[in-house]
Point group: C2
Chain length 229, copies 2
DNA sequence: CGCGCGCTTGACTAACTTCAAAGATGGTGG
DNA sequence: CCACCATCTTTGAAGTTAGTCAAGCGCGCG
């Protein structure tokens, strides 16, 4: 058993991710009855690529990274999951990516079998799952544009704005991930990410407390950079 | 009214895309009753980015390109839709991408409102939509790895294998799209795509009849290139 | 048969990566 | 509480991949 993954006893209220559109009410409440809350330490593994996909997860606190290794060691981080985010809907019979906690994290774990059964009984649950899947699909397609056609600095600007939106407080955000994680997410190297951030700082567009605390000083300029889409 | 888009009279049988996994039966049959068959000429527009998303579509014959323009004219092609593929599930209230026919094409058009109503009545329809959305999500995430971490030649190899799988006949495939479309899909320029194909040809890995007819001569070598994932 | 558009190829350039080293940061134990 | 060490980040210089610009080819359509 993975020592980084411990099952806690209590239940928990789960909030809908702010970014999921068009659905005001959280019909997933019924799901909570079939969910188990778990705690993971930093670098704890939720699942690995190719594991049989028997569970869905939802992040309560902390942050999870979804990644994949190519044969020669190149890594791609396809998503960062933050509080409220649902994990695993893209999986077929096996997971296509690994998922690891980037900081100490709590998640709810749902048996996939039970969720599917519930969805067939209660159309509104099915509908909610569909909404989540469509939102993930849509977000992934936006990221395709970023990786396919944006420059390094545009990618970094888009990334910062996205994170501020999701876990920022006004114009301030604490990055839960390393420069390497960001690079692997944006299709860049750690060094290019670092240089990009330094450049944004030297332009007065952002400020940094420590290297993980970002302050947006000129949101308009950042949006112009992210632009394009 | 768009002259490239004409509504035909007949109904049509719709096959499930071969690539959608884990669902043997096509519960969408009930949907056909609420669908309208339409024909589009080459370059005909199904919808544009920002149009209100009032319809879903499914390709019957031909090929559709889903693309987005950045402010300065850079273009990204996020998906190619081929016979059997369902279009529009990622959209929220507006479409996020434009969709245009790459060749003469027929599609079925479904009113989104009617589909949603059906899905709530009939859980298996909802389940089928969920499967399609998850498949799109999963495919998009695979493409993120390609754009984020693969080299030009690896991208081209992956692309060819994907197309052969979807519309190829054994080891032969007719590309319905231009080099520019392929480049905009793979995050490359037209020239790089052309050079990549020429190089694969010079290595004896593929052969070309005319520039749109590709023959896989050494599938193993192509898979090794696409590899990595 | 000729014309036009898309594809190919070549030479040069730019953006990002790689390799390397120095600078900060934060966690731990004395 | 402070000092040390490991780790992560920043910065610099050189290298590589893919992009840009430009010219010529060839297929397919009229």
């Amino acid at each position: 058993m993975n020592p980084n993954l411990r099952i806690a006893t209590s239940s928990a209220s789960i909030r809908v991710p702010a970014a999921v559109p068009s659905e005001r009410v959280d019909h997933l409440a019924a799901l909570d009855r079939v969910g188990t809350v778990m705690s993971l330490r930093r670098d704890g593994v939720l699942f690995r690529e190719c594991d049989p996909a028997e569970h869905y997860f939802k992040v309560l606190t902390g942050a999870v990274r979804s990644s994949k290794l190519l044969a020669d060691g190149r890594r791609h981080v396809s998503e960062f999951y933050l509080p409220g985010d649902f994990i695993g809907l893209d999986a077929d019979t096996s997971y296509l990516f690994s998922a690891e906690a980037m900081t100490d994290t709590t998640v709810v774990r749902y048996a996939r079998r039970k969720v599917e059964a519930l969805a067939l009984q209660e159309p509104r649950i099915g509908r909610q799952l569909l909404t989540i899947a469509c939102h993930g699909y849509s977000t992934a397609r936006q990221q395709l544009v970023l990786l396919g056609r944006k420059t390094a600095e545009e990618r970094i600007a888009s990334f910062l704005l996205d994170l501020v939106e999701r876990i920022g407080d006004d114009d301030r955000v604490l990055l839960p991930m390393s420069r390497t994680d960001i690079g692997d997410h944006l299709g860049l190297t750690m060094e290019t990410v670092s240089r990009g951030l330094s450049h944004l700082k030297s332009e007065g567009i952002i400020a940094m407390g420590n290297s993980h605390e970002i302050l947006i000083r000129d949101r308009e300029a950042l949006e112009d950079l992210a632009e394009a889409a």
